[in-house]
């Protein structure tokens, strides 16, 4: 499953500079050090945090994409930052749990 493929399943593209990137696994979390310590490379990272540190962490932890849950939005400035840093960001009105359930089906 690649990141772009999620657009057909109710996710909205916020920034999609690297849509062909493959997703391998999922991590859910809002505490950034937990994400850096526990998320794996190529995971889809589901969070409700939307500050610029999220973009930095996604870049350093090398996740496939950030998925903003609960309809959380990204500022225009951060969208541009995400594009510049090559970070895919999607959003969904659903909860982290509901998103994880969808991804679980898609990645199976």
């Amino acid at each position: 499953m690649n990141v772009e493929g999620l657009l057909e399943h109710g996710f909205t593209a916020v920034a999609l500079p690297d849509g062909s990137r493959q997703i391998d696994g999922v991590y859910i979390g809002d505490l950034l050090s937990w994400v850096m310590g526990r998320a794996q490379m190529d995971n889809a990272w589901i969070t409700i945090m939307s500050n610029n540190n999220v973009i930095a962490v996604a870049s350093l932890a090398d996740t496939a994409c950030v998925i903003l849950a609960e309809g959380v939005e990204l500022s225009t400035e951060l969208k541009e930052l995400a594009e510049a840093k090559d970070i895919n960001v999607l959003s969904s009105p659903k909860s982290a749990y509901e998103i994880a359930v969808i991804l679980s089906g898609l990645l199976a």
Partner: protein, 141 residues
């Protein structure tokens, strides 16, 4: 033996929102050198945690990354308050970070444990009222 490659950064203690500039720059530099993604990931996460700590706890400092033939060495030096009890600070969950930092997603007390997790060696020199110097190495072989 060729000279080791050295990257130096001033980490600005005033500017929390730009914290991470040194580690993102390092990530780019190491990529250009063609190092394996997993090595780059370990170096840049360890460095980011250290950089954030210098900003949150020590009002900034200096970061140097040295690319040796057999390892990458990260040296983070600050003139902050020092760490009173290193063993306590190394424990997962221990944090003295204030609430405003927590609301940004930091201050989970996992920074130093992550630095240890992702590097092959970590050495912390600290003196109260003088500062802290952390040396980390990630082996290339």
């Amino acid at each position: 033996m060729p000279d080791a490659l050295v990257f130096h950064f001033d980490v600005d203690g005033e500017n929390f929102t730009s914290a991470g500039q040194a580690s993102t720059a390092i990530k780019r530099n190491l990529r250009q050198l063609g190092l394996p993604p997993e090595i780059i990931r370990r170096v840049s996460i360890a460095m980011y945690e250290g950089e954030i700590n210098m900003v949150i706890h020590a009002n900034g400092g200096d970061a140097d990354v040295i690319v040796h033939e057999d390892c990458i060495e990260i040296i983070l030096a600050d003139r902050g308050p020092g760490i009173k009890d290193i063993n306590l600070a190394m424990q997962e969950g221990y944090s003295t970070a204030p609430d405003n930092i927590r609301s940004l997603g930091f201050g989970a007390g996992m920074g130093l444990p992550n630095m240890k997790r992702y590097t092959d060696s970590i050495d912390i020199e600290t003196e109260l009222g003088v500062g802290t110097t952390i040396r980390m190495k990630v082996n290339l072989t």
